[in-house]
């Protein structure tokens, strides 16, 4: 009987996979799966949210406007009346469903922004209003927001994000860091499509009201400049979720083709006090 210890093969007990490669592959796979699930949840959630009748949404929101202070100030009564009139003229050309009542607010904020909120509320800030060089430009912005209300985008956005965040939270165990960032990316992709549709509707409304769609591109060229000046990071939501400036300006310019600035002059805004 002999006793010996011959050398043993070393790497028997360690798998041969390249851990780093496997990690990268799995991380990519997981990202794709998460993106698909998030997208599906956002899509489903926004579909469901659109089923809520507008009346219910309005009753639920009441007179609150989400996201910004718009306490009516008698100082701005004139501007608000003008905005209401312009909105009514545009809405009349936009096939609004019966009962969908719009409320326009003027917010005394320097940040240039305009947005549509739940319950048919639309807000325009002083910063935006002062940057408009014609009524046509303002009408483009307003018609864009009216189109959002008509498409029920505000409630669809909330329903979509809520269900997506719920799903991501359930899957990852917390709504923390990465998952929230992820949700943001998916949401952005979706709202970009809604923005493009709203732009198209706004251009169509402008054509019906003024006979042409000119005067809009200048507004966004102004915004692009403003953003390049370094305001980008604290940018208003109107800009951050919206299609890339260049794309948008190009589309607006294309829509304005055939417009003759001499024969069809832009309408001036009422004099500001």
């Amino acid at each position: 009987m002999s006793y010996e210890n011959p050398p043993l093969p070393e790497e028997v007990n360690v798998g041969r996979e390249n851990v780093l490669l496997e990690f990268l592959r799995l991380a990519a796979g997981l990202a794709v799966v998460m993106a698909l699930i998030s997208a599906a949840m956002y899509f489903g959630g926004s579909r469901l949210a659109r089923l809520i009748p507008f009346d219910t949404e309005r009753r639920w929101v009441g007179e609150r406007v989400l996201g910004i202070e718009v306490a009516s100030n008698p100082k701005h009564a004139e501007v608000e009346a003008y905005l209401r009139g312009l909105t009514a003229r545009l809405a009349a050309q936009m096939d609004m469903p019966p009962g969908m009542e719009l409320r326009v607010h003027y917010a005394d904020t320097a940040l240039p922004n305009a947005f549509a909120s739940l319950g048919g509320h639309i807000a325009v800030t002083r910063g935006l209003y002062e940057r408009m060089d014609s009524e046509n430009a303002l009408a483009l912005v307003l018609a864009h927001e009216i189109a959002h209300v008509r498409a029920r985008d505000p409630i669809a956005g909330i329903g979509g994000s809520a269900s997506m965040i719920l799903a991501v939270t359930l899957l990852t165990g917390n709504a923390g860091n990465l998952s929230a960032a992820f949700a943001g990316v998916v949401q952005r992709g979706y709202s970009r499509r809604a923005e493009e549709q709203a732009d198209e509707a706004a251009i169509a409304a402008l054509r019906r009201v003024y006979g042409h769609a000119g005067g809009g591109a200048a507004v966004f060229e102004g915004f692009a400049r403003w953003r390049q000046e370094g305001h980008g990071l604290q940018g208003p939501s109107l800009l951050s979720t919206h299609p890339l400036d260049e794309e948008r300006i190009a589309r607006l310019k294309q829509a304005a083709q055939g417009w003759d600035a001499q024969r069809q002059p832009l309408v001036a805004l009422p004099a500001q006090k």
Binding site: E4, N5, P9, V12, G15
Partner: protein, 124 residues
């Protein structure tokens, strides 16, 4: 008599090419004589079930009973641990492993290490 050491009986699905290796957790193979002792050999592996099975097992833990997913996981791991131990024994020139021991340790939720070790020998 032989069936007792037949790892196919011990572990279903054991790889065929290693079936000529005899395993025992006695210190001998009854009826055979050990002619050379080739020292300690060991095999181990770490595995986990995918998250879906972990969740199902979590539900099952409310009502108790066998957690089939984990039974399966540990059986597969044990199979692999033995396979790796046998690879070492074969490389050492053995045709049997005696005094085989198993040990299982918990690594993380749903992942476990299974280890098998024994002494590689040549029997006649």
């Amino acid at each position: 008599m032989r069936g007792v050491y037949d790892e196919q009986a011990l572990i279903p699905g054991f790889p065929h090419h290693r079936q000529n290796m005899e395993l025992s957790n006695l210190e001998m193979l009854p009826g055979r004589s050990i002619v050379r002792h080739l020292g300690l050999v060991q095999g181990s592996t770490v595995r986990s079930k995918h998250a879906g099975k972990d969740i199902l097992a979590g539900f099952k833990n409310f009502v108790g009973g066998e957690l089939k997913a984990y039974t399966e996981l540990l059986n597969e791991s044990r199979k692999e641990a033995i396979d790796r131990m046998v690879q070492q024994a074969q490389a050492a020139g053995a045709n049997a492993v005696v005094n085989v021991r198993f040990s299982t340790s918990n690594i993380a939720a749903g992942a476990a290490e299974v280890m098998a070790y024994g002494t590689a020998v040549v029997v006649e």
